[in-house]
């Protein structure tokens, strides 16, 4: 056990569950969470609240956005008649936080929960430590605030225990975390949190989680231990063996272009720039975005057509980029490796013939059989600019949008 800051908190690729979904899983594993009901129409919020202990009630927007509380996504209501109004203020609205991007995310559902009188708040999470290649439990006596702030300001209040690779999480590890609290919670509370820590590890393994976070984990005035807010992220790579949980994936809150790309199996991320980017390879795609930025333009997306790029994937990449009406020019940057430039050039041409491209297009080819590839491009009657190298490509595309 040691207290380290900042070096362990790596999320990996992930499916984010909604709070209510995460809490359902917690219930199945016997971890107490507040009573609550999911509501997707403001008109049903009153009924929901009436069947739940209160006042107060808490209305919580079910969106993937950290710090939603500060953006109006969490409301505490003391009057039954105001519950609907609180739900109304969220459902159908966009919530914008520092984690959502400027467009924010649409709220389609709210969770109406019993309010809980909090005596003490803790933080408890499990994530993968990249460097140690091991799951790691983080516990802090400071709960209810963003853990990054605690890490920066009170690194001594970040306590760590790692389950042993052979034996997994052991109860003594929870005791090591909990018996450092001052004052000590009641024996029952310690037992309950010990149980919760063990169950968090079980859920982590069972569902291929990349993150489980309880913040805050509270002891109520009555002495009960409750997971008040819960986040669960699932490792995308495990989708082949976690089919059931991936059915929980809520498409509604996602960017429509990214959803489309997901369907096509293309790595696409929507950004707020004006130059569309189509690249083979993730590292090169990032580097290409960086180059565009350096020229004074802004990348409109990340798009990796992958190592096996062909006419089909390139067409689909174009299709998605072109649906973004902020795109004023497109840069294709292809480095021919195993996949040769001549093949790629043919793929690009075939794709262009099928599509109507209404913005300037700059193509840069390099690598295996680049001469043959350029020849093929040159001989086509389609309109685009061919750059001789990366620097020229960047310059050309910047000119198109300036």
């Amino acid at each position: 056990m040691s207290s380290q800051a900042l070096s362990f908190f790596r999320s990996v690729n992930k499916l984010n569950l909604h709070e209510y979904q995460a809490k359902n899983i917690f219930r199945q594993f016997g971890i107490p969470v507040p009573h609550g009901l999911l509501v997707n129409e403001p008109g049903r919020a009153f009924q929901a609240a009436r069947s739940i202990k209160g006042p107060p009630w808490v209305v919580k927007a079910q969106v993937h956005a950290g710090a939603r509380g500060k953006a109006g996504g969490v409301k505490i209501v003391n009057d039954l008649d105001v519950v609907e109004q609180a739900a109304q203020s969220m459902i159908g609205q966009r919530i914008i936080t520092n984690q959502t991007g400027p467009a924010g995310v649409m709220v389609n559902q709210v969770l109406v929960e019993e309010g809980v009188e909090i005596e003490r708040e803790f933080y408890l999470s499990m994530a993968i430590n990249r460097r140690n290649a091991r799951p790691t439990m983080i516990f802090s006596p400071v709960g209810g605030v963003e853990i990054e702030e605690v890490m920066l300001e009170y690194p001594d209040l970040i306590l760590i225990e790692r389950p042993d690779p052979v034996t997994g999480w052991m109860p003594f590890q929870a005791r090591n975390l909990l018996y450092r609290l001052d004052p000590l919670p009641s024996p029952e509370a310690i037992d309950n949190i010990t149980f919760i820590a063990a169950q968090v590890f079980e859920i982590f393994l069972r569902y291929d989680c990349s993150l489980i976070e309880i913040n805050p984990l509270v002891i109520t005035r009555e002495g009960k231990v409750i997971a008040l807010d819960v986040k669960i992220s699932i490792d995308d790579n495990a989708s082949f063996r976690q089919e059931k949980i991936f059915q929980l994936d809520d498409k509604a809150g996602k960017d429509p272009l990214e959803l489309q790309a997901e369907e096509y199996g293309i790595n696409y991320i929507h950004l707020d720039g004006n130059v569309g980017v189509l690249v083979n390879g993730a590292g090169l795609a990032m580097a290409t975005m960086d180059i565009i930025k350096q020229t004074g333009a802004r990348p409109a997306n990340f798009l990796d057509v992958g190592g096996g790029a062909n006419e089909e994937t390139i067409s689909r990449g174009f299709e998605i980029i072109l649906k973004d009406r902020h795109v004023k020019a497109i840069l294709i940057n292809i480095f021919g490796g195993i996949l040769r430039c001549d093949e790629l050039a043919k793929g690009v041409l075939a794709a262009l013939k099928r599509m109507e491209i209404h913005v300037p297009l700059v193509i840069r080819l390099q690598g295996t059989r680049v001469e043959e590839g350029r020849e093929i491009l040159k001989n086509s009657d389609l309109k685009f600019l061919v750059a001789k190298d990366l620097a020229e490509a960047a310059k050309l595309v910047a000119e198109q949008v300036s």
Partner: protein, 291 residues
């Protein structure tokens, strides 16, 4: 000299009969890589591209004395294949497969270490010692034998860099893609330590990207223990937070893993960081000299 692989590497391809496995077997054979065996359960006794196929790694080791494995097995079975290789006594395992669940890798890394083996990847392009051997999926024609070591978390970005190195006349001793996943077998530091001992490696190109702290650890190591010139490049200065940029490991999360932080840490350690990918070859020439 070179590190990890050379003319004496006897390579086995796990998943040799699959589409990617057989294609890249052919590519590697074209580079004169000594591919001594393939493994595919149920296809023992067959041949792929002339290479004898065995049902198990134990057989491949016994019959052909293979000492390096290259894995093209799909994600659900890849962890099992890596462990099979380590269990059969293979000491260098290169896993190309992308998409292995992180919890599988948690087990794999522990298992491989306990068997005294080195794992490169997963989700990596492999390793090449130009003029000697290539184990992975790197393109054949752009590398040139020389004395620059290249370490990268990326694929095509590395090809771009190597292409420019070769263009400016800087050949390579060994190029290694350590992989774009959050949990990988071999780290920047592990590879740097090997390059440090390699007499024929004069300088290093280190190609990082957003996510994790690998580059920061490398910066510390280089500052404290590494004695050869290093040029670094970090991709992803324009990457948004909380989004996975293609690679499973390339994600800025909770404000951590940003390109600017990595660049600053590297620079604070006295390492030159190329700002402009377009002219990274020339920059390398500046940092390394003509040799």
């Amino acid at each position: 000299m070179s590190i990890l692989v050379d003319e004496n590497s006897r390579v086995v391809i796990q998943g040799i009969s699959g589409r990617r496995g057989s294609f890249h077997t052919k590519q590697m054979l074209g580079y004169n890589t000594n591919i001594a065996a393939g493994v595919r359960p149920g296809k023992g006794g067959q041949r792929v591209e002339g290479v004898p196929v065995f049902n198990t790694m134990v057989e491949a080791v016994q019959e052909e004395g293979v000492n390096v494995s290259c894995i093209f097995v799909p994600p659900p079975f890849a962890a099992d294949s890596i462990m099979e290789a380590a269990s059969a006594g293979v000491k260098l395992i290169i896993c190309i497969t992308e998409g292995i669940p992180v919890l599988d890798m948690v087990n794999v890394v522990s298992f491989v270490r306990s068997r005294g083996a080195i794992l490169i990847g997963p989700n990596c392009p492999g390793i090449i010692s130009p003029g000697k051997t290539m184990v992975g999926i790197m393109p054949r024609r752009m590398h040139r034998q020389g004395d620059i070591g290249v370490i990268s978390r990326s694929g095509t970005l590395t090809y771009e860099v190597v292409y420019q190195l070769t263009e400016v006349g800087l050949g390579q001793s060994t190029c290694i893609g350590i992989g774009g996943d959050p949990i990988i077998g071999i780290s920047f530091i592990d590879v740097l330590a090997m390059f440090k001992e390699d007499n024929e490696t004069r300088g290093i190109l280190l190609i990082g990207e957003i996510g994790g702290k690998e580059e920061e650890y490398a910066a510390k190591y280089i500052k404290e223990e590494f004695n050869k010139p290093v040029l670094a490049f970090i991709a992803g200065r324009t990457a948004p937070t909380n989004k996975r940029m293609g690679h499973a490991g390339a994600i800025i999360s909770r404000g951590m893993g940003k390109a600017e932080d990595k660049i600053k840490t590297l620079q604070d350690a006295g390492i030159t960081v190329a700002q402009d990918l377009c002219s990274i070859g020339k920059k390398a020439l500046e940092v390394m000299g003509h040799g």
